[in-house]
């Protein structure tokens, strides 16, 4: 059965800290891995990763995929209170046209 596992489930840090969020997956015929940020309402798209070893970067956020070890990490440097959210990882399979989501990592950044 296809599955996506995120860790940790919850993380509490202070502003300025650097955090690493993990996502591992087991999916038949992997196509892509996506990261979303969900604050109080709709998840918003962050990154899509399809190739191993190529870092995607947007400001203080970056992500990389390892297709051999079947995981991805999302790094946030110099965290700010506005980074507080649930971060969702999802994987897309060639076999289906639907995303499989992990349970998310809840990040809380305190001043």
């Amino acid at each position: 059965e296809d599955k996506v596992v995120q860790s940790p489930l919850s993380l509490v840090v202070h502003e300025g800290d650097t955090v690493t969020l993990n996502c591992s997956y087991e999916v038949t015929n992997f196509r892509s891995l996506l990261w979303y940020k969900q604050e109080k309402k709709a998840p918003t798209f962050l990154f899509m990763l399809t190739s191993s070893g190529i870092e995607k970067k947007s400001g203080r956020l970056s992500s990389i995929l390892d297709k051999k070890e079947l995981f991805s990490i999302l790094n946030i440097t110099a965290t700010q209170t506005g980074d507080s959210a649930v971060y969702l990882c999802a994987v897309d399979s060639i076999n289906t046209d639907k995303l499989i989501f992990g349970t998310g990592t809840r990040l809380q950044v305190f001043p």
Partner: protein, 112 residues
């Protein structure tokens, strides 16, 4: 700005009621999805649709049905609401490849 609009942010319904959750997108997307989100379980797919009048079961379709009469509108129907259907419901749409699913703001449904 492109949008997915869910008609209600919060709903409270009684057990046994028929409940309609509406989702409208203005991006001419072909693919639309309904998820429910519960603590510790993440997002789980209920139903999805690739085209008008077309629907496919997701991972947890029991107790739900859907309707897609027009391309822009995808409705989720709880035929007889039960307390275990209390949840956050998220609608999403995408055109083709799955980067950039656009989500609606969600409907928090409470069944009492």
């Amino acid at each position: 700005d492109v949008k997915v609009t869910q008609s209600s942010r919060y709903l409270v319904k009684r057990t046994g009621e028929k409940v309609f959750l509406e989702c409208v997108q203005d991006m001419d997307h072909e693919n639309m999805f309904w998820y429910r989100q519960d603590p510790g379980l993440g997002l789980r797919l209920i139903y999805f649709s690739y085209d008008v009048k077309m629907k496919e079961k997701g991972d947890i379709p029991e107790g739900y049905s859907v309707s897609r009469e027009k391309k822009e509108r995808f409705s989720l129907i709880l035929e007889s609401a039960s307390t275990n259907q209390t949840s956050m419901y998220l609608c999403a749409s995408v055109q083709g490849a799955h980067y950039g699913y656009t989500f609606g703001s969600g409907t928090r449904l409470t069944v009492v």
